[in-house]
Amino acid sequence: MSALLEVRDLTVRLRVGGSDREVITGTTLEIAEGEAMGLVGESGSGKSMTAKAIARLLPAGAGVEGSVHFAGTDVLALSGADLRRHRAKVAVVFQDPRAHINPVRRIEDFMTESLRTLEDVPRAQARTRAADALEEVGIDDPARRLRQFPHELSGGMLQRVMIATALLSRPLLLLADECTTALDVTTQAEVMAILDDLRRDRGLSMLFITHDLELAGAVCDRTSVMYAGQVVETSAADRLHADPLHPYSAALVQARPDVTSTAERLVAIPGRPVSAFEAPSGCRFAPRCPHALDSCRSTEQVLTGLDAGRVRCERAATLRGRLLDPTESPTESEETADA
């Protein structure tokens, strides 16, 4: 498998109130053809900004360093017609469908706009393609749906319309940004199943952005975890859950209550998640990390290969396999392992 998308050392700064604020620092990830990559993190971790940078949807004035290559082209250098073509090949589905659809236009107008303006597809043909796309995402009576307005559709139905619309331009990569978060769980399962089918049928690659580690684990091949604007771990999705490499990944796994068993007490992570611009020097997770040593706080951590994954933690090799062990109390392990 060759990499369809390659993001190298991507750093993004946004202008907020006259000063530059870093939102992503040195993000590196790649997605192969047909691969689904999960991107997990808490608020402010930079996961949505990563997607926006890939789709070239960052706000005007954003400072970008590093590189983004998609199907061999340098995404950051694109402009004009090339950029429009890029955005057709990289489709984005956002969290709140109602915020991304014109409420006074019919579903058909919304779905066929880019086909008719960018590809000059005749109206009747565009309508047929839209109807077919709706059917593909499990929407009955597409002819009627195309005549309806957004307010006549439920949230789950509307999100399926967004996915169908994204597919009309025959994208190679789908950026799904918390696209099921606002949906009910049964609808979420439905939408995830549709995405899964599409991926298999069309060989579509996917960047699946979510705060839900379990969801990412269930539908993705690999998962990257972001914290304070940096990727701190990339591992096989099932491995991340069972045997994480980074203390933050392990903390996320443990903090989440489990529907199959009741914990005496949840293992909460002290403190709160920070954004890149407010992150401390050295390891950004160190202030909240039970395994942090003095050297973690003073040394910038580097994303390094370990096992089949990558991790940004100098202690990862020492801690490997022990992060989820309940008998392993962090303070004791410090003394024994690093005395």
Binding site: D197, A242, L252, R288
Partner: protein, 268 residues
């Protein structure tokens, strides 16, 4: 006051109709002191309408709500009655960004509630504000900050501290941890468990998140389109759901080995 063993909250035959829409139909449950009950369901199931009726934000079309031995299914006749109802049952809403006064610090918000509901002098109120801050895990600097200087999790702690200031017998948690980051959600869930152990308060948790429900509650009601379709011990209902709708809810929760399934038609 009710006898010690009686339910602290008792709802029977509760019904709410909006226009032609039946939001809640024939709902009944009892909540014992110190117990936690979850009401789960998806959007439109009527779970939030139940919560709003219990706190008095909606008037039931039919049925009775009895809290601490006193009926509250009709509007309060006077200010004293209204205040007492507020004292007995409190609510923490989902969105900590809209439920706090942006011009009032956490300490001031809690102090205001104490002044309305209790007859304490300033020194006592200050002490109680401090105790509540400790209970929810906020320091004095955070308590004296305006909401805009606080994170979502910190705001939600302020909202919990404010709700606890009346010393309620029942605390309604309407999706109160749903908007929080995973790491913060765990902190708040632990705080809620501590508070229950310490104060013997009863919770009604309105939630769509079955893992949170399992963590915090002993009993559960499953609602679908305004009707309770299943009820029982939380562990039993989640481990062996009986009603097809509960089974579908449970099967929709991602976990190890989970594969999403399509229920809708797929073109050939």
């Amino acid at each position: 006051m009710p006898d010690a063993d009686g339910p602290v909250l008792s709802v029977s035959g509760l019904r709410k109709v909006f226009g032609t829409q039946v939001a809640v139909d024939d709902m009944s449950f009892d909540l014992a002191p110190g117990r936690s009950l979850a009401i789960v369901g998806e959007s439109g199931s009527g779970k939030t309408t139940v919560a709003r009726m219990v706190v008095g934000l909606e008037r039931p079309t039919a049925g009775t709500i009895v809290a601490c031995g006193r009926d509250r299914s009709r509007p309060a006749r006077n200010a004293g009655e209204r205040t007492r109802r507020g004292r007995e049952v409190q609510i923490v809403f989902q969105d900590p960004y809209s439920s706090l006064d942006p011009r009032q610090s956490g300490a001031a918000a809690v102090d205001e509630v104490l002044r309305v509901h209790h007859d304490h002098d300033a020194a006592t109120r200050r002490r109680i504000v401090g105790e509540l801050a400790d209970l929810v895990g906020l320091d004095s600097r955070q308590m004296s900050a305006l909401p805009r200087a606080l994170s979502g999790g910190q705001r939600q702690r302020v909202a919990i501290a404010r709700a606890l200031a009346t010393e309620p017998k029942v605390l309604i948690l309407d999706e109160s941890v749903a908007a929080l980051d995973v790491s913060i959600q765990a902190q708040v869930l632990n705080v809620l468990a501590d508070i229950r152990d310490e104060r013997g308060i009863s919770y009604v948790l309105i939630s769509h998140d079955l893992a949170v429900v399992r963590q915090l509650t002993e009993d559960v009601l499953v609602m679908q389109r305004g009707v309770v379709v299943e009820r029982g011990r939380t562990t039993d209902v989640l481990d062996e759901p009986q009603h097809p709708y509960t089974q579908r809810l449970r099967a929709s929760v991602p976990g190890p080995g989970w594969k999403p399934t399509r229920t809708l038609r797929r073109p050939a």
